[in-house]
C-alpha cells in the first residue's frame, strides 16, 4: 500500500496555502501536480545536457538526443509496447487524436464510411471526428451509455456492423467508468474496424499493457501522469504506420528533400516534425520512473481505497447525487456529483474558499451531460497523495456550502 501522507512531501505545491487554508487538491483528472524529481530533472537537463535533439554532432546534442530517445524507451516499457518505435511524442492526447484523424482518417476513410464513438467521449475524441465526417461525408454512430454509467455493449455491437473505425475512451473522465477496451478491440477487429483508445484518464490510474489491449492507436497526455504540459503520447505499430500519411510536416520528419520532392523519415520520426519538446519528454520519463517506483498496482490499489471512501462519504451527505457506478472497482479515482440546490460553479467557488480545489462544469463532455440531464457537475479526482483526510475536508466543505445555501436571508 502507498503512504499518501508521506508522498505529499514529494509535491512542492502542496505546501501552498489557498485563502489561508492548506491546499486540498482534488483535480488530478484535469491535470496532476508535479513531483520534485520531475521538476529537477527538467531543470537539470536544461542546465547540463541541453542541445539540439537529432540535429547536432557535438556532445550536448548527442546527450540531449540520447535522453530524448531514452524517454521514448521508458514510455514504451511503461505501457507494455513492443518497442520504442511504437511511441510517437505529441503535444497532448488531443493532438494525438487529431494526428490519427488527419494522417489515417483522411487517407483511409471514404464517403459513407462509419465511425463508432460513444456517448461518454471527451470532446477531444469527438470534434476531430466531427470535422473529418463533415469533410468526407462519414457517418458517426454513438454507442449508448447505460443508466448505470457503463458502455452498453449490446448497442456497441449493433453499431459496430460495417463500421471502419471505433474511437472509444478507456476511462470516462466524468463517470470514471473503465471500459472493456480489450473486448472492444477484439470485437472491432473481428468486424474489420480499426480502434483508437483514448487513454488520457487510464494511464495515470491503471497498469497498461499494449500487447493485451491490441488497440491500433492508444493516446494519453503527460500532464495528467504527473509529467509536464506540452507532451503527449501516441502508441501505434508497424502495420498501422504503413497506412498513415504524415501529419505536421517540415524539419526532422524527412529522409531527403529536393526542390519539390521529399522522402519521409521512418516512423516514429515521420510524425515528429520540427523541434520537439525534449525537456518535456524527459520530464515525462522521470514522472513515469516515479510511478514505477510506487508500482502501478499499488497506485491502483490506493486509488481504489480512496474512491471507495469518497463514494461512501459523499453518498452519506443528504442532497448529494453521485453519477456513474457506485462500485469502486468499476472506476478510477474520480467522482462526479451534484448537490441539490447548489450550482456546481457555486459549489466550486465555496470549496475554493476552504482551499479545496475541485472541477465544475461539463468537463469537456457535453453530450454525456445532456444524457445525464444536467448542464454541469462537480468532480473530485484523486492522486497518489490523496488521503482520507482530504476526502473528509471535501465532505465538511460541501456541508458548509449546503449551510450557506440553506440559511434564511433577511429579505
Amino acid at each position: 500500500m502507498l503512504d499518501p501522507a508521506k508522498l505529499r512531501a514529494d509535491f512542492p505545491i502542496l505546501t501552498r496555502r489557498i485563502h489561508d487554508k492548506p491546499l486540498t487538491y482534488l483535480d488530478s483528472a484535469a491535470t496532476a501536480q508535479k513531483p520534485s524529481a520531475m521538476l529537477e530533472a527538467m531543470d537539470h537537463f536544461y542546465r547540463n545536457h541541453y542541445g539540439s535533439v537529432r540535429r547536432g554532432i557535438y556532445t550536448l546534442s548527442e546527450e540531449a538526443t540520447g535522453m530524448y530517445e531514452a524517454a521514448r524507451e521508458t514510455v514504451a516499457e511503461f505501457i507494455g509496447a513492443d518497442s520504442s518505435e511504437e511511441i510517437v511524442f505529441t503535444k497532448n492526447a488531443t493532438e494525438a487524436i487529431n494526428l490519427v484523424a488527419y494522417s489515417w482518417g483522411r487517407s483511409n476513410l471514404r464517403k459513407g464510411d462509419a465511425i463508432v464513438l460513444t456517448e461518454m467521449e471527451h470532446h477531444a475524441n469527438l470534434i476531430p471526428w466531427y470535422i473529418l465526417a463533415k469533410e468526407k461525408g462519414l457517418e458517426l454512430r454513438f454507442a449508448k451509455v447505460t443508466d448505470g454509467g457503463r458502455l452498453d455493449m449490446m448497442d456497441f455491437e449493433k453499431k459496430l456492423k460495417g463500421a471502419k473505425l471505433v474511437c472509444v475512451t478507456h476511462v470516462s473522465n466524468v463517470l470514471g467508468t473503465i471500459n472493456p477496451v480489450a473486448e472492444i478491440t477484439k470485437l472491432a477487429h473481428e468486424a474489420g474496424a480499426k480502434v483508437l483508445v483514448d487513454g488520457a484518464q487510464a494511464a495515470p490510474n491503471l497498469p497498461l499493457d499494449m500487447c493485451e489491449l491490441e488497440a491500433d492507436w492508444y493516446v494519453f497526455s503527460g500532464h495528467k501522469l504527473y509529467g509536464p504540459t506540452g507532451i503527449g503520447v501516441l502508441r501505434t505499430h508497424a502495420p498501422v504506420y504503413e497506412a498513415m500519411q504524415p501529419f505536421l510536416s517540415g524539419g526532422e520528419m524527412i529522409n531527403e528533400v529536393g526542390l519539390g520532392d521529399v522522402t519521409f523519415a521512418e516512423p516514429p520520426a515521420t510524425f515528429e516534425a520540427g523541434t520537439m519538446p525534449a525537456a518535456e519528454a524527459i520530464g515525462l520519463a522521470v514522472a513515469i520512473d516515479y510511478l514505477n517506483k510506487l508500482g502501478m498496482d499499488s497506485v491502483r490499489e490506493h486509488e481504489q481505497a480512496v474512491t471507495e471512501y469518497a463514494l461512501e462519504k459523499l453518498s452519506a451527505i443528504e442532497g448529494v447525487k453521485i453519477y456513474g457506478s457506485k462500485k469502486a472497482e468499476d472506476r478510477v479515482g474520480l467522482v462526479s456529483f451534484t448537490v441539490d440546490g447548489i450550482h456546481p460553479h457555486d459549489l466550486a467557488s465555496l470549496l475554493d474558499q476552504d482551499g479545496v480545489a475541485i472541477r465544475s462544469g461539463h468537463h469537456c463532455a457535453q453530450p454525456l451531460h445532456q444524457k445525464l440531464g444536467v448542464p454541469a457537475t462537480a468532480r473530485a479526482s484523486f492522486s497518489v497523495f490523496t488521503t482520507t483526510d482530504d476526502i473528509d475536508r471535501l465532505a465538511t466543505s460541501i456541508k458548509a456550502a449546503q449551510k450557506t445555501f440553506s440559511e434564511p436571508v433577511k429579505a
Partner: protein, 128 residues
C-alpha cells in the same frame, strides 16, 4: 472574503422581478453554455422608459443574483440610460470581487440586456 455574502444570497433566494411579461416590448434570451446558465430578460416601455421588467432563468447563484440586481437597476430608466450601463456598474452592484471565470456569470444578464437593446433599436425607432 465570503463571495456568497448576504447581498448575493438575498437576491438569489428572493429574486426581484422574477416571472414573465406577456406582450413585452423587449424579450431576450442569453446563455452561457459553459455553465449551462440560461436567462430570459423582458421589459415593457412607457415612452422610452422601462416601466416593468422581469427575468427568469436557471443557473448559478452569481448569475441569477446579478440578473435580479440588474432588473432593479433598469426599472424606471430610459433606453439611453440602459445603454450607458457599464460592466463596472454591474460588478459594483454585485459588490464582491469575482474571479475572472465568475465575472462571466456576473455579467451574463447585462450581456443579455445589451443584445436586447440592439434588437429593440430596430423595432423601437420605427415606432416613434
Amino acid at each position: 472574503m465570503n463571495l456568497y455574502r448576504e447581498h448575493i444570497m438575498d437576491h438569489y433566494k428572493n429574486p426581484r422581478n422574477r416571472g414573465t411579461l406577456p406582450n413585452a416590448d423587449m424579450t431576450i434570451e442569453e446563455s452561457n453554455p459553459v455553465c449551462g446558465d440560461k436567462l430570459k430578460l423582458m421589459y415593457k416601455l412607457d415612452g422610452d422608459r422601462v416601466n416593468e421588467v422581469k427575468f427568469e432563468g436557471e443557473g448559478c447563484a452569481i448569475s441569477l443574483a446579478a440578473a435580479s440586481m440588474l432588473t432593479e437597476m433598469i426599472e424606471g430608466k430610459t433606453l439611453e440610460e440602459l445603454k450607458a450601463i457599464r460592466d463596472e456598474d454591474m460588478l459594483k452592484q454585485i459588490g464582491v470581487p469575482l474571479s475572472p471565470t465568475r465575472v462571466k456569470c456576473g455579467l451574463l444578464a447585462l450581456s443579455g440586456l445589451r443584445k436586447g437593446l440592439k434588437q429593440d433599436n430596430l423595432a423601437g425607432y420605427g415606432n416613434s
